[in-house]
Symmetry: C2
């Protein structure tokens, strides 16, 4: 089977915002399957802020992507050939397939998905790592109590939108921070947040003071920088600050902006805690069942921003940093 | 009784390091006692980094000291006149008496101390707020487990020295960070830490990497700034960072240095938590009993750095910020 695979490799370590030339678009022939292997045709690729971290030289919670190596990405695909008895042709699976059209798997690290339960993109969104991050980050790290005020940054983004919706399900007040009037409307009108703050036109610290008169009980941070500081300035006693990401800092070429008012943690006896979704792998299935139930009951909406065409990857990826995506950003491998 | 009281009031809000002229040395006549009041002759005054925060205009966990107001300070004294049946003349008490010679009390907020249990200075050190801060900060906020590696900054200072000793009692490895070879020797030889790092002559991040090969399980921070960043760079998975103070930042006139590598909390699933000793007021007595037991057993040493003469206050206070004190810094009110 002389099948051709196209893929993006990392050509150079980006300085600041990644450029087209930081990636190489390559063509290769898909090799023959060995015993136990299967061939997956990639349908959707998850585009996540964390991928920017994987492009950096420094080791984080996973090793960096090496220069010349396939760009790492979570994805979802369909088995199109198989010499593995566990995965028959036609099955849908998700896993770390990378930014490419075809993935040869030895059958390890695959999660089977059932397209009868939800549309395929949902498995990279609410029923995938995005949803799991929101679920465990809010419920386990944040420990919400009914009546708590929960503030979420990147509320119009993938994780943030889910966090606010789960906060509402748990009886909390949800306040979102997002960029632009349109996104703020979306956060309140479509996702059901109680309020939204437009960081592009409002003084966030001042707006938080008004919308959270009792202070913030949980701040779920996806952005870092000035917005993290604005939240720290408005904590309630005993607040929990969940550090999930810091998209405002991923492309800075100078030093990262550490929260200058971190002593607010002392004044308010507050906790700042980092979370990584992988620590909850043994509970993904249970969480996905609960979230599927909330979706079926109309309490939780899954929204994806799908861009078609593998070759658009370098530009499409940047939508995350320009704040252009609404909901979960996915790359549909086929152009049509 | 035409008794004269000398006291220091706050004359102006210090910019950077406090100066002599930021305080006014005043003389007044002690007024007659009303029914229920008692007169305390102040013997020892506790000098603490937190006092620098109380001189700032911004409200923290307590209101600032107003301009012209008596400078706030914890102290210990003896009842010399009393119209309060609960506190007889001759009793020793501690409380918030301020930087002065005499304090007229209505009998509220006083803690009676028994000079038969320990020397008087100990009640402002290990058996006072200093000891309570170390005890609850380490044991409650830090949650040490036997075998943990505990790192403490300002290890030669009042709180830090106690934290390291309690860590050893709890079966942990204790690593201190202090300024200068003499202090490092003191921390290891006298206080029994396993190792000490001299931040004045060593690369702290590198030294922590060597002395904590498994990473830091608990970092007890009294200093902030570069040393906090060096500790964050060396956390173990699930580490607890106790934010007790940030003496390196109290006198800065520009923006506070927030920890630029705070995303280490995410990478290591670590927690940074602020603590204030006042939250544990209902457990002070129990903690003091346990600490007195450790002292009696020779497991815990109380060391004070006592400077005589109330009028030396402005200069003596600065010893804290110059790192000149060894152990708890106290002002003895009488010059002889």
């Amino acid at each position: 089977m002389a099948l051709v695979n196209h893929r993006f490799t990392l050509a150079s370590r980006p300085v600041g915002m990644p450029k087209r030339s930081d990636f190489a678009y390559e063509e290769e022939t898909v090799r023959e399957l060995r015993e136990g292997e299967l061939l997956i045709r990639v349908l959707f690729i998850s585009l996540d802020p964390a991928m920017r971290g994987w492009m950096k030289e420094s080791r984080s919670y996973v090793p960096p992507v090496a220069i010349g190596e396939l760009m790492r990405a979570l994805a979802l695909g369909q088995v199109v050939a198989s010499k593995n008895s566990l995965f028959a042709v036609g099955k849908h699976v998700s896993g770390n397939f990378g930014v490419q059209q075809y993935f040869v798997s030895e059958g390890r690290g695959l999660i089977e998905v059932d397209p009868g339960v939800a549309p395929l993109p949902t498995f990279l969104n609410i029923l995938g790592m995005t949803g799991m991050t929101a679920y465990f980050g809010l419920l386990e790290t944040g420990q919400p109590q009914p009546g708590d005020t929960v503030v979420v940054s990147s509320a119009g983004g993938a994780v943030g939108g889910v966090v606010g919706q789960i906060a509402k399900i748990k009886g909390c007040k949800a306040v979102g921070i997002a960029g632009g009037a349109d996104k703020c409307r979306y956060v309140v009108a479509e996702l059901g947040f109680d309020a939204a703050i437009d960081y592009k036109s409002e003084d966030v610290a001042e707006a938080l003071r008004k919308s959270c008169p009792q202070g913030i009980n949980i701040y779920f941070d996806n952005v870092g920088g000035d917005i993290l500081e604005a939240a720290l300035a408005n904590l309630a006693r005993g607040a929990r600050v969940v550090i999930c990401g810091a998209i405002s800092q991923y492309n800075v070429t100078g030093p990262v902006q550490g929260p200058r008012n971190y002593l607010s943690l002392l004044v308010h006896r507050a906790t700042m805690k980092g979370m990584l979704v992988f620590d909850y792998a043994d509970r993904y299935a249970q969480a996905a069942r609960e979230m599927a139930g909330w979706m079926a009951a109309g309490q939780l909406k899954s929204r994806e921003d799908i861009v078609a065409g593998l070759e658009t990857f370098p530009d499409t990826f940047l939508k995350l940093f320009k704040g252009e995506n609404r909901g979960k950003l996915l790359l549909k491998v086929d152009a049509d």
